[in-house]
C-alpha cells in the first residue's frame, strides 16, 4: 500500500503542478497515470508543438513545459505509478480513500485530486465488429513481451512509428511479418521507413500498402485476417496474431463510475470555493472538470490546482492555520532537504572601500 497526503490521478501539467503547490504546504503527493511517462497530452500527443499562452513563456514546446514542471517539483519527491489506470476508489470510515489501479496497486490518502484531462489513453481499435472477441487470443493493441511472437505469423497494421518499429523488431523474432497500411507513404521517422523498405525488399517483411484489415476469422483464436486492397479487392491471409497499432485515444473510463456528478463528459466541481466534487475529499482540476465559464487551458489548471491544495491542507490539518507565504520570501524547502531562497543583498560600507 502506497500512502501519501494527496493522490493525484493524471500526471499532465495540472497534476504535476499540484505537487509543487502541495509541497509548499508540506503535503506529499503520489501521481497515477495510465501512460508510461509523465506529461499527459503534452508528452503523448503534441510534445513538439509550441504553446503560446503560458504566462511568462512567450513560446514553449509542450515537451519542454513538462520537463520544466518535473524539474520544478523534483524537490518535493513525488511518487509515480505509471502505466497503470486508476480503476476503483473506496472511502474508508475515517474519511480516507484507497485508489486501486487496473494492476492492483493500492494507494491510500485523505485527499484525491483528479487531474485526468480527457481521461486515460486507450489504444484505438479498428472498427472490426468481432475484434474484441479475439483480444488476448491473438489480437493485441500493445506489445508488452515481443517473445510471445517468436516463430509465429504476425500481421501488424498502421503507418506510424510504432507500426514501423515493431515490424522491424519482429522481423527477427516472428516466422512471418506482414505490415498492412492504408497508404503508400509512412509518417514514421525516415530511417524506420527506409529500414522497412529494405526488409520488404529481401522478403523479411511482407509489406501490403493501400490496404486495410477488414475482418478476423478463427474458432477460438486468430487464424486468419481479411485484407481489403484498394485495387485487388478482398483476400484472406493466414496468421496467428493481429496487432493493430493506431495510437491512443483518451476515454474518461472508470472514473465515470465513481459516483461523481458528471456533465458533458466532465466532472462537476464547486468553482466558487475549492474545486471539490460532490464527494467530500475528492477534487477535480484541469481539463477534467466543468463549472460555469470553464476554459480548458493549462493556465486555468494551474490556478485550480493552487486553490485546491489550500482546501486539501485544511482537510488534512483541520486545527492548523495556514498563512500564505510568497516563495520570494519563504523560499522553497524540498522534502529532499534542499532549500532554495532568494540571496540576501550584500551590504558594503562605503568607508571600508
Amino acid at each position: 500500500m502506497i500512502t501519501t497526503d494527496i493522490i493525484i490521478i493524471g500526471a499532465g501539467p495540472t497534476g504535476l503542478f499540484t505537487v509543487f503547490e502541495a509541497g509548499l504546504l508540506k503535503l506529499k503527493c503520489h501521481l497515477i497515470d495510465a501512460l508510461p511517462q509523465a506529461g499527459g497530452q503534452c508528452s503523448e500527443i503534441y510534445p513538439k508543438k509550441p504553446i503560446y499562452d503560458i504566462p511568462a513563456f512567450p513560446e514553449v514546446l509542450a515537451g519542454d513545459l513538462v520537463d520544466n514542471l518535473m524539474e520544478q517539483i523534483k524537490a518535493f519527491e513525488p511518487g509515480f505509478t505509471l502505466g497503470e489506470r486508476a480503476d476503483t476508489i473506496d472511502k474508508l470510515d475515517d474519511g480516507t480513500f484507497i485508489v486501486t489501479t487496473n494492476k492492483g496497486t493500492k494507494h491510500k490518502a485523505p485527499v484525491v485530486a483528479i487531474a485526468g484531462g480527457l481521461g486515460s489513453f486507450e489504444p484505438r481499435k479498428p472498427p472490426i465488429p468481432n475484434i474484441t472477441d479475439f483480444e488476448d487470443k491473438g489480437v493485441a493493441y500493445i506489445i508488452r513481451d515481443p517473445e510471445v511472437y517468436r516463430d509465429k505469423k504476425v500481421v501488424l497494421a498502421g503507418g506510424g512509428d510504432s507500426a514501423l518499429d515493431w515490424s522491424i523488431f519482429l522481423a527477427d523474432v516472428a516466422s512471418e511479418v506482414t505490415l498492412v497500411h492504408r497508404r503508400n507513404d509512412f509518417r514514421g521517422a525516415l530511417d524506420s521507413v527506409e529500414k522497412v523498405a529494405e526488409l520488404a525488399k529481401i522478403g523479411k517483411i511482407n509489406l501490403i500498402t493501400e490496404a486495410e484489415v477488414k475482418g478476423i476469422q478463427g474458432s477460438d483464436k486468430v487464424e486468419s485476417v481479411t485484407i481489403k486492397h484498394k485495387t485487388e479487392g478482398e483476400y484472406t491471409l493466414e496468421t496467428d496474431c493481429f496487432i493493430p497499432l493506431f495510437g491512443l485515444l483518451p476515454k474518461l473510463g472508470p472514473i465515470s463510475d465513481w459516483g461523481l456528478d458528471i456533465e458533458k463528459n466532465a466532472i462537476k466541481v464547486n468553482n466558487a470555493l475549492d474545486y471539490q466534487t460532490n464527494i467530500e475529499g475528492i477534487y477535480a482540476i484541469g481539463d477534467v472538470n466543468t463549472y460555469p465559464g470553464k476554459l480548458k487551458l493549462i493556465l486555468c489548471g494551474f490556478h485550480e490546482a493552487t486553490l485546491m491544495c489550500q482546501s486539501a491542507f485544511k482537510r488534512i490539518n483541520p486545527d492548523k492555520k495556514y498563512i500564505m507565504k510568497y516563495t520570494t520570501v519563504g523560499g522553497v524547502t524540498g522534502f529532499d532537504g534542499s532549500k532554495k531562497i532568494a540571496k540576501k543583498e550584500q551590504v558594503l560600507n562605503i568607508k571600508d572601500l
Partner: protein, 110 residues
Amino acid sequence: MSDIKLKITDREGNIHEVEAPTDMAMNLMEVIKGFELVPEGTIGTCGGMAMCASCQCYVTSEHELPEMEYDEEAMLAEAFNVEDNSRLGCQLHITPELEGLEVTLAPEEM
C-alpha cells in the same frame, strides 16, 4: 463580413442548418462544437491540431476545398472509416468560399 450557411448531418443522421461567421477565424470542428451538434467530449479531442480525427467528416457537396496539408493527410491515413471525401473539420476554415457546404460527421471511434 457575413455568415455562411452550412448543412451538417450529425452522427445520428439529424440534419442541422447553421450559420457560421467567416470573420472569427473558426474552423468547421469549432462550429460543430459551438452549436453543440454532438455531445461534448466527442469532437475536437486534440483541440484542432489534426492529431485525433474525432472531427472527421465526409464532404457531400461539390465544393472546391483547400488542399490537405501534410498533418491532415497523415492523420486521415491512420483514422478509421475514411472515405475519398473524408476531411478533418478542424482543418477546414470557415471562409466565404464554403457557402452552402454540406458535410456528414464520420462515426465516433470506439
